[in-house]
């Protein structure tokens, strides 16, 4: 019969007006930590890791849905060696990607380009999300307009409710 004692404990009083004051320290701490954590320098990475970061953006031509960084296929290892060579020659990430696009086609880049038809895959989810949000806003507007149609609680109703909310006598069952 653990259920019974739960019936209705009075709600702890909500301290009015002081809500935001209590939040000031936690917000300050959080923002400070976020700024500090995201601005401080990252631990140094090795050349191999920088090479791999670029290889992860290039599709392994031989395999399916694996990047040249993740796959153990021979051609992927050649690509990693090649990227390392190009980086040591001072080529930028874009130059390296352009080279591979020229040799293997657009398909070799795992990130669809933001221009041209590839842009659709980036833009469409945003459009859909905005439409969904707009739909929700419109729905809430409509609900607010119809808010007055429903039955209203009278003071008699509220009296019934407050009576019902009194702690029930122990052991109903």
């Amino acid at each position: 019969m653990t259920a019974v004692r739960s019936a209705a404990r009075p709600a702890p009083p909500v301290r009015r007006g002081r809500g935001w004051l209590a939040w000031a320290p936690v917000l300050a701490v959080t923002i400070a930590l976020l700024v500090f954590g995201s601005l401080r320098t990252r631990p140094p990475t090795t050349d191999a890791e920088r090479v791999n970061a670029i290889a992860l953006l290039i599709k392994c031509p031989e395999c399916v849905s694996q990047s040249a960084g993740a796959s153990d296929a021979e051609v992927s290892r050649q690509i990693r060696l090649d990227i390392a060579k190009r980086m040591s020659q001072g080529e930028s990430e874009e130059q390296i990607q352009d080279y591979y696009r020229g040799r293997y086609g657009d398909e070799v880049l795992l990130t669809p380009s933001a221009s041209g038809i590839g842009g659709v895959v980036w833009a469409l989810p945003v459009v859909v999300l905005v439409c969904a949000m707009a739909g929700l806003v419109a729905a809430f507007r409509r609900w607010r307009r119809t808010a007055d149609d429903g039955p209203r609680a009278t003071s008699a109703d509220e009296a019934i409710v407050s009576r019902a909310l009194q702690p029930s006598p122990p052991d109903q069952k």
């Binding site: 004692r5 599709k59 849905s65 153990d72 795992l110 969904a132 609680a153 029930s168 109903q172």
Partner: protein, 689 residues
């Protein structure tokens, strides 16, 4: 012999389902209760057919009956016993067979559970829909996916064995069946949804009846996906667990819409709203399982896990079209008249949070689907070939995931109907401190990068919020504070948070390197000392294994390359050591040419990987807790909705509940008390059957 039994099973199942469909259709059309009632016995025939097929297949596999085409193509005498059983789902035809068996079992269970109300048109229609799906899968087995062809074999023939990657880890024996239990399980609520649309009875009764199916299927799907990720991590050796591969996405899609449904259905049970939307989500979930089947089995999309291509594609696509036309058509035809009255008072309320949840999960599913099929769409548009890969999915899912974490922190403390900002500030202050504390610990441990830091902050915030609800509930109800939907749901949230934090940490701080070492040579990487000792060869029944003996910080690792006897495929096996703090994984890239030559290995060091699997376990446990009936409410307790027919609380085998929603806003004030909201979601369904 086995072929004959198997074919007999297919014929039995196909005829059983077709006869059942015809009898039920006539019965429902004429309103003939006796006919409708007899419909359920056909479900038994269908189950018998499926069981017969599976028994024949397993018998053929275990006795190496190579005259059966499936065994001929995919098994070998040298395959170890447990993998012989698992060979059934290691290739296309057998996987359809497994699907059919699970589907037939579900159909039979529905027919049996509903035996007392089979003359109810809603149940009749649901059973009819399930039999149509059964008939389709038996049709696949009878046609393009027939595993029981007969083959003449030469003396002493031995088969090739299953795909080497699939006989490399024991998880393969469990991952597909569990995943299919989830996929197929969504057929049941879908069937009821179609039944509800046809009969026009979109009230909440059928929801309560299918609630456990949905939760059970969802738990299985969750477990199946997590197991798949685990298998990928332990077997494929690329250091990751999720590659956004089309097949993985195909399993994630129904999970996303299913998750959206599980949340939004609470609004319907509680408030009687969103009826048509919930039906749409169920239809979408089921359609996506069939679409996933098409994508993985038709060969239109390249994937690591895709089944070998076959003529099965057009049939599945046709079935998908049928489902889409029927679902969309029914919703369009009836949707406007079935819409429930009522309104959602405020965006800042439990209902509002569920709506936001649905928008986010819907957007997530849309992103995953779009990314998966976008190369096909581009190719159809202008013939160009492009790829949409990991960078796209990661970039798109990160903001959605972070927003969901934030929502997960705020939503549980929101009362129904309407909340004030003050109430929120009061209830969320402790969770916010927990989030800030988590962030502080992460920063102290050296965490950098905004998105990972946000994940830790919001993860802690959400965990604090879920923990708060659980603490309040257990303080009030003892151990019962851990069961029931709302409380079980909070446990699931904790599991999700663990997974989110583990994903954030392993993605942001995982490191890897390639090393070339000669015997005795030492290398340093990410604070670990790596020594290569030499190689060892082992001969197993179905493969030759060469292991490289590596020591990392004194612990032995043995990444291996296996050459399977058939087809000379070489498969790598990574060696992984897990600790709660971090995982170290080693894969062997290249064997040394000579005994004292140079070995080429890859080393992955990734934090918190273990928590992915633990989080998955907690999610499944939480769902189990949610299925356990929550506290039986004292009829005189204050709840927002008056309970009609309180006599029903003793339980009622029909699965009907007396859930109502009488728009009575003022009564809801009870909810705003802090103690009253812990199980308020569960109170919407006072009767748990």
């Amino acid at each position: 012999m086995n072929s004959a039994i198997g074919v007999a099973g297919i014929v039995l199942g196909l005829l059983g389902s077709i006869c059942g469909i015809v009898v039920l259709a006539i019965g429902l059309r004429k309103g003939n209760a006796a006919l409708i009632r007899s419909g359920r016995s056909y479900a038994g025939l269908v189950l018998a057919g499926a069981v017969l097929c599976v028994v024949a297949m397993q018998r053929a596999l275990l006795t190496n009956d190579f005259t059966v085409s499936f065994v001929h193509d995919h098994s070998a005498t040298t395959t170890p016993g447990v993998f012989k059983v698992a060979t059934m789902w290691a290739a296309l035809e057998g996987s359809i067979l497994l699907w059919t068996l699970i589907l037939a079992s579900y159909t039979a269970i529905v027919a049996w559970r509903e035996r007392t109300r089979t003359d109810d048109p809603l149940v009749g229609w649901a059973l009819l829909v399930m039999l149509v799906v059964c008939a389709f899968f038996f049709l696949l087995l009878a046609g393009p996916a027939n595993p029981f062809g007969t083959v003449a074999i030469p003396e002493g023939y031995d088969g090739p064995g299953p795909n080497p990657l699939l006989q490399n880890h024991v998880l393969m024996a469990f991952h597909p069946p569990v995943l299919y239990l989830g996929y197929v399980g969504f057929t049941v609520p879908f069937a009821y949804a179609i039944g509800a649309l046809i009969t026009g009875r979109v009230g909440e009764g059928w929801l309560a009846g299918t609630r456990r199916w949905t939760l059970f299927s969802w738990a299985c799907l969750t477990a199946g996906i997590v197991m798949g990720a685990w298998w990928s991590y332990e077997v494929l050796g690329w250091g990751g667990y999720w590659a956004w591969d089309p097949v993985e996405n195909a399993s994630l899609l129904p999970w996303l819409t299913g998750t959206a449904y599980i949340h939004s259905v609470m609004v319907q049970e509680r408030r009687g709203m969103l009826r048509v939307w919930n039906l749409s989500l169920l239809c979408a979930t089921f359609s996506l399982t069939i679409l996933g089947t098409f994508l993985t089995r038709s060969g239109v999309i390249e994937s690591v896990h895709a089944f070998s291509e076959s003529g099965i594609g057009p049939l599945i696509l046709g079935f998908f079209t049928l489902i889409v036309v029927v679902s969309v058509g029914l919703i369009g035809w009836r949707g406007d008249r079935l819409r429930a009255p009522g309104r959602i008072d405020s965006p800042l309320s439990r209902e509002g949070a569920f709506l936001a949840n649905n928008v986010l999960f819907g957007a997530f599913a849309f992103v995953v689907l779009l990314g998966t099929v976008f190369p096909l769409i581009v190719e159809a548009t202008n013939g160009e070939r492009i790829s949409v890969g990991v960078p796209y999915f990661n970039r798109m899912s990160t903001p959605i995931g972070l927003t969901l974490l934030f929502l997960m922190a705020v939503a549980p403390v929101l009362p129904w109907r309407k909340a004030s900002g003050e109430l929120l500030r009061h209830r969320l202050i402790v969770p916010a401190w927990i989030g800030a504390g988590t962030l502080a610990i992460a920063v102290l441990l050296g965490a950098t990068g905004l998105s990972a830091l946000l994940a830790f902050l919001l993860g802690g915030f959400a965990a604090g919020s879920a923990g708060r609800q659980l603490v309040l509930a257990t303080r009030r109800q003892g151990w019962r504070g851990l069961v029931g939907r709302a409380n079980g749901g909070m446990i699931v949230h904790l599991g999700v948070i663990l997974i989110a934090v583990a994903i954030a940490a392993s993605t942001a701080y995982g490191r890897q390197t390639e090393l070339k070492l000669s015997p005795g040579q030492t290398a340093e990487f990410a604070g670990h000392t790596i020594v290569y000792r030499g190689t060892e060869q082992r001969l197993l029944s179905n493969r030759d294994v060469v292991e490289a003996i590596i020591e990392i910080d004194g612990d032995p690792y043995a990444p291996a390359l296996s050459r399977f006897r058939f087809g000379s495929t070489i498969v790598g096996t990574p060696s992984v050591a897990s600790t709660p703090r971090q995982d170290v994984a080693v894969t062997l890239l290249e064997l040394p040419a000579t005994a004292d030559g140079v070995v080429s290995i890859r080393v992955f060091v990734q934090p918190l990987i273990m928590w992915l699997w633990i989080g998955g376990g907690i999610m499944v446990f939480g769902t189990a807790m949610a299925i356990v009936p929550g506290r039986r409410r004292n009829p005189l307790d204050a709840v927002s909705a008056p309970i009609h027919a309180t006599g029903d609380t003793t339980g009622d085998t029909t699965g009907d509940t007396a859930v109502t929603d009488s728009d009575a806003p003022s009564i809801d004030k009870a909810e705003d008390s802090d103690a009253g909201d812990g199980d308020s979601a569960a109170s919407g369904v006072p009767v748990e059957v």
